[in-house]
Subunit: 213 residues, 4 copies
DNA sequence: AGTTAAGCGAGACGGTACGTCGTGTCTTGTG
DNA sequence: CACAAGACACGACGTACCGTCTCGCTTAACT
């Protein structure tokens, strides 16, 4: 539902839909907001956050890099974290769900994508900051939760499809399986810093989806 | 080895060994550092970080709460994060490894402890901040890695013991199993915010260590 | 010319002309600096410096008393001393030059004013500090020199007028006379702490401008 | 009497006499204070104060330069200013009073000495700081007053001798004359920064002691 | 000769001010 | 209205200095 929402736009009358996409019913008086500004800000945020981290990135920096004034940023997002969260969202491509016909094939594709994202995703180091803030800010927390929930969908689709195909037993615990798979990636990425590659993926698969033996 | 190291003592000549355990060969001239101060600072940090989070906790607050001057803190730790990391360490009790005789029993104990720690640990919200900093600060990163590595030991002990007892096949992939188990806890705790309880633990166990059926 | 300059405005594009009097050619974009803040800061500085001395006056104190943030102060003055110097300037009323018609009358007025200022001037204890700083800071030094030079003008006016009136010989050494008169006041005020009153003034006059006898 | 006193030695039982010269009546038990330390500290103070000014000179600097610990300094002087004042005293040679037989000759010698001291005296920039402190610290003030008073003596001697010789009228106002002469030097040195040389001295003399015409 | 009181270098300590920086808001003038 | 520029209040940061306080050692004078 509200999965691709812009976060808490300060005074956006259409705060629960995609920003700047208010239908013709709400013509908004006065000068319309610059769409280039939106993009420039998000781009600047993604770049800067990747380069120096969220803490190392000041809002003045973002404004300057985007060629925009701070007020223009705060008119759209109510806080630094709200901006970063949306920037993260904007930088996250959706998984494209390809049905290869077999669980094995689907997983290959999915895990390959996971490796790619966890390995090089520029905004990956940004998550911890948002997590911290979300511990003390309910708004950020629910938006972040949304974002996290969405990222579970592709694997769930793959697993339920496998159950329908009778490749997995019907009593398979889909949710916790997802927790474990994504959890292992997250853990390696954020905590242990062990390598995340094909080999790791294969070992992971061998545990959760043991070969027919 | 360097697992119980004090972090980055600013000018500690024995920075890479257990603190204050330099042999009698280094008599350390001048007034010795106050041990009460050490303790007071760490305690104040743990308390404050739990109450208001790292970001909400100022170094002046810590100094005041500890009855200590800021200089005294910075003489021991070179940054806020270094302090917090050591405080986290000081607040983390070691797991006590009890051999119940069976994998099942060992896991019950271990997972119970995990639930307790991930559920209520006062310093849990502190991890994300450290993770973020560690992305851009090599010193913090390696210390944090140490800390993380240590927390893997108890589960590894349990699993290798189970292999010796022939409760698990000898080719069991211990490392990735640990990644998945702890990873699932981490993921729920930090990202999805799903409940972490006995039921979750049971489902997790059912996947990684399937009942004999 | 640059006698009524505001001191070392940190990034004032018109630092060498009267402040805020740049012609209409430089419209100064952005929010203009608050004039009330200027005044509040100077007033707070004069008050505090009089009460507790420069050393005893912290910039935080000034900010609080002025109802202003420290950044606002440092945006205008680059150091505590620069602020104090401008505060001194702002607290120094110009001498009003009254032509009484005779040297004797002019001197009475002038010296009376001198007694009043050296006796009770709230900012008098502030001079030594500025002098010290000016020994090691070229910027402060030249500004202070300006200020000092200005204070010589009234007496010079009186003396040249007396020469024109033939009350003083045309070869009178005006400069050194000024040095001696003001110097004697300064010396008593700062060094010897002897009383500065009408009697002292009379004795001084008797030496420099001996009665016709 | 107390003119060449060491200032406020912290716990010196003979605080009102020259330090370390307590008579044999008070033999002081324990290890005697190091005389080299005394000298080293004073020398370091004079040097540092000349180089970087009092404010720019920290007590740690003095201790290091003198090869002495801070405690050793504070055992002798109760504050930075007390130390500086004594250092100033130690660096000030007494005027040697030579009777040339005429006022003119005496003045030549005296004024020459004045020019030399005001021109190059390393500790000259140190006075303003002491003056400032003395505004708020009674102890420093009285010690400084002593020092200042002493420096008036030579000129007074010269003038009274001239009166005895009938070179000056007996009703000459010696005190204010001194104020003016020294005052003019002080004023040029500290405030106006005009040159202090033979020419200036000559003009000064022409005003206070006009040639017989 | 042994005791003892004090001096000494080193450096930690509490307190306090410094000047800088970042956040989110507000205020100008211009489109 | 939006926008660029930039001032503003608030508050944390990490550094520096002052004057005090241990430490363990050294140095004489007193027993």
């Amino acid at each position: 539902m509200s999965t691709s929402t812009t976060l808490v736009a300060v005074d956006d009358p259409a705060a629960d839909t995609k920003s700047n996409v208010d239908g013709p019913g709400t013509p908004r008086r006065g000068r319309p907001r610059s769409i280039e500004a939106d993009q420039a800000i998000l781009t600047a945020t993604v770049d800067l956050a990747s380069e120096v981290g969220i803490t190392g990135m000041s809002m003045d920096d973002v404004a300057q890099r985007a060629g925009v004034s701070k007020a223009t940023i705060y008119r759209r997002w109510c806080s630094k974290e709200a901006l970063v969260l949306d920037a993260l969202r904007s930088a996250t491509l959706p998984f494209d769900d390809v049905d290869t016909g077999t669980l094995s094939g689907d997983l290959d594709l999915y895990v390959g994508e996971l490796i790619r994202r966890f390995g090089t995703g520029p905004m990956n180091d940004v998550l911890p900051h948002l997590i911290e803030v979300s511990c003390h800010d309910e708004t950020i927390r629910s938006s972040l939760d949304d974002y996290i929930r969405v990222r579970r969908v592709p694997l769930r689709t793959i697993l339920t499809r496998a159950i329908e195909r009778d490749e997995l037993p019907s009593e398979t615990d889909v949710d916790v399986t997802i927790d474990m798979v994504i959890g292992a990636f997250v853990y390696r990425r954020l905590l242990s810093h062990d390598t995340i590659d094909e080999h790791f993926a294969a070992r992971l698969r061998a545990i959760v989806f043991p070969p027919p033996s």
